[in-house]
């Protein structure tokens, strides 16, 4: 759903002393209230994930036979011992959500890291070597993009077997084409620029050209796509968990928690509502941050 804008760069009158790039970036970014909100939420989530063992009031897997499906504290039979209630086998929902943040962030970051690294290398290769190599790589990516993302992920998980690691690998493969395309497009537009030719004339090898000259100048679109990719990765991994193909119980992954809670939709709204809300907030935060980064890093897309 990314829109490619092919506008010629507009000449802007330079102020007397241009601010440093990172300062300029921060000033642009700070104006976007949504992006700052997203960043704050993500910071809180990271803190919660890091300190989950200290913050969480209970163990995420410990069951309590005396407290099945206890409602949150503000409802009648609820108590502050279990602030957000308990699930069907007496586990504390708040603790499971906090530990789930750890899993979800881990999933998002690991999946995107894998996908960005592999995608960038493939994209650089396609952009630099052209010819048959490029056609082979790009065709393969087109085929991957043709299949609906979740369907492809499901097929891959069906082959590898259900589980968190396999689900992460499947989502990474599904996300791969986006990074390959961006990296290749950026390389092709950069390669003919003067600084690359200068480096070539100065005797830089192909490897140096690829990674030290061109790559840093393709970073902005990759960073934006990576941030948005984290939200896709978290959503897709949760969907796989919900379908029983991702993280397996008793892991407190939010999608898996929802799958467990489905049958209690009639009796206990909190076991269904809260894990989904956690997914929504996290994904929304990364999308807000990604939009803000795009506006601040890519002046061409500014309106």
């Amino acid at each position: 759903m990314s829109v490619e804008n092919i506008q010629p760069p507009i000449a802007v009158a330079q102020p007397d002393t241009p601010p440093s790039p990172s300062l300029e970036f921060w000033q642009d970014f700070r104006k976007n209230a949504g992006a700052v909100a997203g960043l704050v939420v993500i910071a809180v989530l990271i803190l919660l994930a890091l300190s989950a063992d200290i913050v969480a009031p209970h163990s995420p897997v410990l069951t309590n036979n005396a407290a099945f499906l206890k409602p949150p504290f503000w409802q009648q039979s609820g108590s502050l011992a279990y602030p957000l209630g308990t699930d069907a086998i007496g586990r504390d929902i708040l603790s499971r959500l906090i530990h789930g943040a750890r899993l979800s962030l881990l999933i998002g970051i690991a999946v995107v890291a894998l996908s960005v690294i592999a995608g960038t290398i493939l994209g650089l290769i396609a952009g630099f070597f052209r010819g048959v190599t490029e056609i082979a790589i790009m065709r393969l990516m087109d085929i991957t993009l043709t299949l609906p993302s979740l369907l492809l992920a499901i097929v891959i998980v069906a082959i590898l077997g259900p589980g968190l690691m396999n689900a992460m690998l499947a989502v990474a493969i599904v996300l791969l084409p986006h990074y390959v395309r961006i990296a290749r497009a950026a390389v092709i537009s950069e390669v003919s620029k003067d600084y690359v030719i200068a480096a070539k004339v100065a005797g830089a090898g192909r490897f140096r050209l690829m990674f030290k000259e061109v790559l840093p100048n393709c970073a902005a679109p990759l960073i934006v796509q990576a941030t948005l990719g984290i939200s896709t990765a978290i959503l897709d991994a949760a969907a796989l968990g919900f379908l029983g193909l991702g993280a397996q119980p008793p892991l407190p992954e939010w999608g898996t928690m929802l799958a467990d809670a489905r049958e209690f939709v009639l009796r206990a709204w909190w076991v269904v509502t809260l894990p989904g809300l956690a997914i929504l907030i996290t994904v929304l935060a990364f999308n807000l941050l990604g939009d803000g980064l795009r506006d601040a890093l890519d002046p061409k897309l500014k309106r």
Partner: protein, 336 residues
């Protein structure tokens, strides 16, 4: 134009062959011997096993097997389900209309809400309405729809009792499939009660499946509109005194719709992804639920055939969208 059509078509053929190869290889990677899987727990005597392997061509080199697979495919044979022993293609055909009916309703819902919302947001840029629409659509875009479905069931089916929880029509109605679309078939039958039942079963799944496309369409319409509204010819149209409605609806909207049409075409893949989840939540008897059941029962012919058919359908729709796009916008034919 003809050249453009041929270039596009020539790209489709290798992609389709690629999909068949991908599906073939992926299913091959599943550990275990398919014949032994079919035989199940009872086991099988070695001579019979060898005979079956020969019958199914499993004793041939992989490349030859792929050739067999392609030739069966060309004859419309996608194998049989291990569980029901029905041909995969027949099962797909009987379930596909349910998915299409739901998807069409979802995309219509997304258009009816998303287009006006995007247009008004663009006209009243930076107003409260604009910020509201953008905020809601980003939320919709971030929505885990499997949870959204449960939430709507919780509110409308459980708390308010307005809509049924699952299925496609109440059990007391039996409608002979003519088109496969229940909304049409019930009307052809003249059964108003059945039509109302089918409609009430459709509402929640439509909203759930339409949410992500709705968000995408609203955002896309807004940004396309903003771009077009800044053009000189719009200022000209305004300057010569045309009523504002005419400027927006006739001059601006026509050009703004071009990128929106492409985005709608690209939603087909998104709709299938959503259909898998939506059908699972609402027990909607379509191909998405069928595929998930296929996986849970390790019914690999279903998984293989279904994936291939869905890939082919998405590819065809994308091709049609591309061709339509070339037809509406002549510039695109020469720039690729």
């Amino acid at each position: 134009m003809l050249r453009f059509v041929f270039t596009r078509l020539s790209l489709v053929v290798p992609t389709f062959i690629g999909i068949t190869l991908l599906v073939f290889v992926l299913i091959r990677l599943i550990p275990g011997d398919p014949i032994e899987t079919m035989a199940g727990e009872r086991g099988i005597d070695p001579a019979r096993l060898a005979q079956l392997r020969k019958d199914y061509g499993f004793d041939q080199p992989v490349l030859v097997q792929y050739g067999f697979y392609l030739s069966r495919l060309a004859h419309g044979d996608l194998g049989r389900s291990i569980v029901t022993h029905e041909p995969v293609i027949a099962e797909f055909q009987s379930l596909f209309p349910a998915t299409v009916e739901l998807s069409i309703c979802a995309i219509l819902f997304a258009l009816c809400v998303g287009l006006p919302a995007g247009i008004i947001a663009a006209i009243r840029r930076n107003s409260i309405f604009d910020h509201g629409v953008m905020g809601i659509s980003l939320t919709g875009y971030s929505m885990p729809i499997f949870w959204w479905g449960l939430l709507l069931i919780l509110l409308f089916s459980v708390q308010l009792g307005w809509t049924p929880v699952s299925g496609r029509i109440a059990v007391q109605y039996y409608i002979e499939p003519v088109t496969g679309f229940l909304l049409i078939d019930t009307l052809l039958d003249g059964d108003v009660g059945a039509f109302r039942s089918a409609l009430s079963h459709l509402i929640l799944p439509t909203i759930v499946l339409g949410t992500v496309p709705l968000a995408v369409i609203a955002r896309m319409t807004r940004s396309a509109m903003l771009e077009v509204l800044g053009e000189d010819y719009i200022r000209t149209a305004r300057a010569k005194g045309l009523p504002p409605f005419r400027v927006i609806a006739i001059h601006a909207l026509r050009n703004a719709l071009i990128p929106v049409v492409t985005v709608i075409g690209l939603q087909v893949g998104v709709l299938f992804t959503g259909a898998i989840l939506t059908e699972t939540i609402f027990s909607w008897p379509g191909v998405g639920k069928w595929l998930i059941e296929g996986i849970n029962r390790r019914d690999y012919p279903v998984l293989q055939g279904g994936t291939l058919l869905i890939g082919a359908i998405v590819m065809s729709v994308n091709l049609l969208v591309d061709l339509a796009y070339g037809l509406i916008n002549p510039r695109i034919r020469y720039t690729r």
